[in-house]
Subunit: 564 residues, 2 copies
Amino acid sequence: MKILFKNGSVVNVFSDSLEKRNVLIEDEKIIGVGDYTEDDADIVEDVSGKYICPGFIDGHIHIESTMMTPVEFAKAVLPHGTTGVIADPHEIANVCGIEGVQFMLEASAELPVTVYIMLPSCVPSTAFDESGATLTAEDLEPLYMAPRILGLAEMMNYPGVIAKEQEVLQKIEDAHRNGKVVDGHAPLISGKELDIYLSAGIQSDHECSSYEEGAERIRKGQWLMIRQGTAARNLNGLIELFDEPWSRKCLLVTDDRHPADILKDGHIDHIIRLAIEMGKSPFAAIRMATIQTAECFGLHRVGAVAPGFQANVLILDDLDSVSVRDVYCGGKKVVSNGKVTEITTPAIKEQRIKAVRNSFYVDRLRESDLHIEEKGTHCRVIKTIPGQLLTDEWITEINWAKNNGIDADRDILKIAVVERHMHTGHKGIGFISGIGLKKGAVASTVSHDSHNLVIIGANDEDMMCVANHVIKMGGGYAVSCDGKILADLPLPIAGLMSELGATELAEKNEKLLDTLTFLGVAKEVAPLMTMAFVSLAVIPSLKLTTKGLVDVGKQEQVSLYADL
Amino acid sequence: MKILFKNGSVVNVFSDSLEKRNVLIEDEKIIGVGDYTEDDADIVEDVSGKYICPGFIDGHIHIESTMMTPVEFAKAVLPHGTTGVIADPHEIANVCGIEGVQFMLEASAELPVTVYIMLPSCVPSTAFDESGATLTAEDLEPLYMAPRILGLAEMMNYPGVIAKEQEVLQKIEDAHRNGKVVDGHAPLISGKELDIYLSAGIQSDHECSSYEEGAERIRKGQWLMIRQGTAARNLNGLIELFDEPWSRKCLLVTDDRHPADILKDGHIDHIIRLAIEMGKSPFAAIRMATIQTAECFGLHRVGAVAPGFQANVLILDDLDSVSVRDVYCGGKKVVSNGKVTEITTPAIKEQRIKAVRNSFYVDRLRESDLHIEEKGTHCRVIKTIPGQLLTDEWITEINWAKNNGIDADRDILKIAVVERHMHTGHKGIGFISGIGLKKGAVASTVSHDSHNLVIIGANDEDMMCVANHVIKMGGGYAVSCDGKILADLPLPIAGLMSELGATELAEKNEKLLDTLTFLGVAKEVAPLMTMAFVSLAVIPSLKLTTKGLVDVGKQEQVSLYADL
């Protein structure tokens, strides 16, 4: 079937210009850009005054962080013009291993949004992590044969690369030998350390936050991914890279994106819009989200409105505001006047569904499991900073007599991280400050990168109550108070994803946050974000894992008791 | 082993700028660009005042047209900074089929110049050709597994693509399915015809000669190869494409290049030099010969001076004149102060050598074989035009009584094209004008694309003599007069290549031309070039094949006798 778009302006990513030309597509392919007429087509779309633009590609995202399955994710981002993503299923891999990667492959098969997959390079992330799986080079290698696998995902273990650890280099070499690419993740390293890292053949980075940092990466041959997601927002710091010659080596990515943000602001379209508002060329911004992403990942005939290219085409009402009206994926209209049409949910093998829906191997908690032994007068308290992933260490005297050390008046709450994958019974328990909860408790299984069960509370009963509720749901978030569950958000797929759509997820998420506000958490605190990063022992200073407190700077475990 | 280049200026193809930085290489790889010192290296090269530039890559060349084997070709182009070529072994494939491709693969293995191969797409070139082999999609497909095979070479059969011929589309589909690219060759087509051609997924073209033609290709998503070789020279017509945004999608190529031109003017360095002389940015020109060529062909970590990239590095005395002093390939110094060091000739299987050295299946000619029967008063004569590949048809009265129709005074010579691959005994005989030979004869086996034996002469005895000499040599060029061979250039490998170096080939070639001048050929006539294209029935108007005269416009055979 042939469709003609007539009277529109084509956004040409090769000539950086608008072209008053008609576009003809046949089945899944663009077959002509020129003087085509009604006689050439079966269907004619008059797009007078509108723009015909290639579909956007997110160069780096963890779909799990949207809490949506790939099909629901597709429904959420298609109205924003996203027709492709390069996804790293790192989160589910930390819970379910290769089964998790296979689940994401199957769950994203033949969606209108093409989901390309990069193989998770660092599972587990650190030696402190107790994840659900370990992925070795040997585990990953056979997967390079699968379709849609483009390479090895963000190599976060830059100390391992720099130290030339055999297993790390083997993973990189396997990707290269299979003709695939290797993405990077190495914030703030530069000069000679960066050179060693790059010498391993790592093609990109998405962790840069300043012009100088970004420009060094580009000068040294990397593709620079400009990230503007929910947690990390680097557009401001990198905006100068939209100018020439830098823009030629930049891509736009989100890394992670919450449902509420997708609904409110959008996805890649949002980054393009912001860049244009900041005075940058729409052509540069669009190139960075289309043809250049395709080139970076070796995708042929994707990312442009040109003959022979995949018919992933957006009809924009306006260029500067990137207002997406219609979206065609592989020649099929999937968004009409901003509304997504019916999308088929991919069939997934029973075995995969079982594997990802049974990710809990942990006993129900008893109140006594959360008890802290009184071994000293002063303890190390994790002091969170509103709006940041960094934490400080705060050493303070603990009033053990009162509520096993919890003192909501002094903003000292209890925190527990419970191993949930291997039934080890391991748990770390400590104190945390900066959350502001006056009563009740909150629990979550979204906790980078191992996604163990994190509980923060003002008393042990509520912590027990909320933890057991989350275990019963098979993962997710919940808030309790006085022995009752006040709000929850089940994430039964690996404790990370739901089958709900963006709107319902955003509503449930908002209810969680409202409930926490009601229980005393200040507006500027992002409690779920804090819980998501409080176990990640790569961001300074003091973190809590299933094995106890970690001094991130020293990369060693430390005692809860400051005087021991 | 580590080598440090200190005090030089790095030509950075990512930032379009010069950088005062030291460069460290280890073994085959660049491992650092920055403040490295003597302490970091085993060998230190002080390159004060010089430029450190990535090695040049020719995006499209037929090595056979240099008449050199790959190793001699490498020795000739290395002093000009060429460290990689994308070669289409189309000529030898027309003579020897897959054996010819295999020969080129083996003969180019592990040379300092990396020889990447594109599989010949059109063997034979036309239905009129009697070539030594036919390459089907089925023949080509298994070769995609071989190393250094990047795709399908110039798809010249654009009528076949446009008509969607099954076999043609199959070849393209096979390349794509194997993750490879397909180069184009489609001069002068534009608009809707071009759209159909491009819709097959053809990524490049090297046949454009004007800005408008080139810009249309780029706008429609092709890589534009700007060709400046020995026969076709398009730089002048395309010079505006060195400006932005066009330059980002252009490459530099030679297509064919004769030894004398390589010695006198250079290779890719020559094109860069010319562009700079014409006022264009050296950075744009160098990008078009390095990183962009790598990107076009999906070559990772090649084409830049950056950490992790192959250490294919040039030391230039001067940037604007692109004067190459030293050349490093994979970290090994192969050109020192303009002189090539020892290069090992690749080992080639005995079977391959036999196949390409025994490419003649033709009997020795007798004088009577060249006799033309007198069947009419007027004949069609091929009228050549000095400096052009086009010919005209000239109908004139033939004086049969005198020398079987040859009349050197009226510049009417005899021409024969003798099938030499299959022992068919097929031969086309006719008349040719515009060469100017007063006596003697000349023969050649370099005749696109089938490379049959072409003889032009002022009498049958000399034609027989020179033809039999060429047959005895196993191919090449020769000139005879009065029954004696006055000059020759043996090309025993497929009748196309010699094992001689560029200097000797250039000398022998010059002697051939001088001898022809002595026999009456005017300076402005390029007789060997004329012979090379006189059988190619795709360039108008009148051509001679082994089956007789062809009217190219009508694409049909025509009689020698104009009145029949």
